[in-house]
């Protein structure tokens, strides 16, 4: 088959852009997809001629649409997002890939649950400190202990007397603690509600 240099350049440019816009795939998968599109272009462009010029190449490319739209079509038909299991396993089932995907989903869910638990815990400590500060002013607070900036102590002091070091927040721990607790609880509740909604909508199995 004879292809004019201009036509070859047009086709190569189109396929280069198309390959660049395809979602991350293995080298073999990408090559396979691009080769198929190339084969299509060459056949359409040469139909009834036996040679390809710029006009026939342009017509073939126009039929495919823009390279980015074509690449996006492969996204649309891609496998579902990680939160949703596929409706049916493929015939050539690869157990290791499915197991890895499930393990990754479960690990992500576990991390999210842990994060929200820690958020609730931190909110509880802040709220407790804020609400009990008026009653235990010398024992409740945020102290800087030692020269190291990271030596902080939040909450109840161990003895009736205030701990060594100096209190950082003073009475402002009340509004700051309440605001911080509210923000943390709101954040955690939003995450949990989203997780619950996803769980109901999808077929995530949290228990093996």
């Amino acid at each position: 088959m004879i292809i004019s240099p201009t036509a070859q350049r047009r086709i190569d440019d189109y396929l280069t852009e198309f390959a660049a816009r395809l979602r991350p795939l293995s080298v073999d998968q990408k090559r396979d997809i691009v080769d198929e599109i190339r084969s299509h272009i060459l056949e359409i462009a040469a139909t009834g001629r036996g040679y390809i010029n710029q006009a026939s190449a342009d017509a073939a490319l126009a039929g495919l649409g823009s390279a980015s739209d074509l690449a996006m079509g492969y996204d649309d038909f891609s496998t579902p997002a990680c939160w949703v299991e596929e409706s049916e396993p493929p015939a050539r089932f690869q157990p290791w890939r499915s197991t890895f995907r499930k393990a990754r989903r479960r690990a992500t869910v576990a991390v999210v649950i842990l994060a929200t638990f820690l958020a609730y815990l931190a909110a509880g400590i802040l709220a407790f400190s804020s609400l009990t500060k008026p009653f235990q002013a010398h024992r409740i607070g945020l102290w800087k202990i030692g020269a190291d900036d990271f030596s902080l102590h939040l909450g109840l002091a161990n003895s009736a007397a205030a701990p060594a070091g100096h209190e950082i927040l003073g009475w402002s721990i009340i509004p700051l603690g309440l605001i911080g607790a509210t923000i943390l609880v709101s954040f955690a509740i939003r995450i949990d509600l989203r997780l619950l909604r996803l769980f109901r909508q999808s077929r995530i199995h949290l228990v093996a």
Partner: protein, 124 residues
């Protein structure tokens, strides 16, 4: 085949949605009698079902059906010098298209029953 020109835009959209929804069934069914490559599939769908599938749609769909294990593919050298990628139904694909065809038949029968009064109304 298209709806009459005076149909509202929503009717055209419905027709498009209906064709889109049946595309997977049509593509799988096209492979029932043997392997086909992309352009052959498109021509087969036009010839047999008057179903025009855009070129930018057929290849991503074929890729997805292959990833789902319903089709398998192989490259074959063609007389034109460039190789062609042929697809054929896998065992799972045959099971799937059979089930889809059965559903389609039941569904269209039910719909025919529902539409029967409209046909009587048109005759009178």
């Amino acid at each position: 085949m298209a709806l009459p020109a005076r149909s509202p835009e929503s009717a055209d959209k419905w027709e498009v949605q209906l064709r889109k929804g049946s595309l997977e069934l049509a593509v799988l069914a096209a492979h029932w009698n043997g392997p086909l490559y992309g352009l052959e599939i498109m021509r087969h769908l036009v010839d047999e079902a008057d179903l025009i599938v855009p070129e930018g749609t057929i290849y991503p769909l074929l890729n997805r059906l292959r990833n789902d294990g319903l089709l398998s593919s192989e490259w074959v050298e063609a007389t034109g010098g460039h190789p062609r990628k042929y697809y054929h139904l896998t065992t799972a694909g045959r099971r799937r298209v059979t089930a889809m065809a059965r559903f389609w038949k039941d569904f269209s029968n039910s719909l025919d029953h529902l539409l029967a009064p409209l046909k009587k109304g048109n005759r009178s």
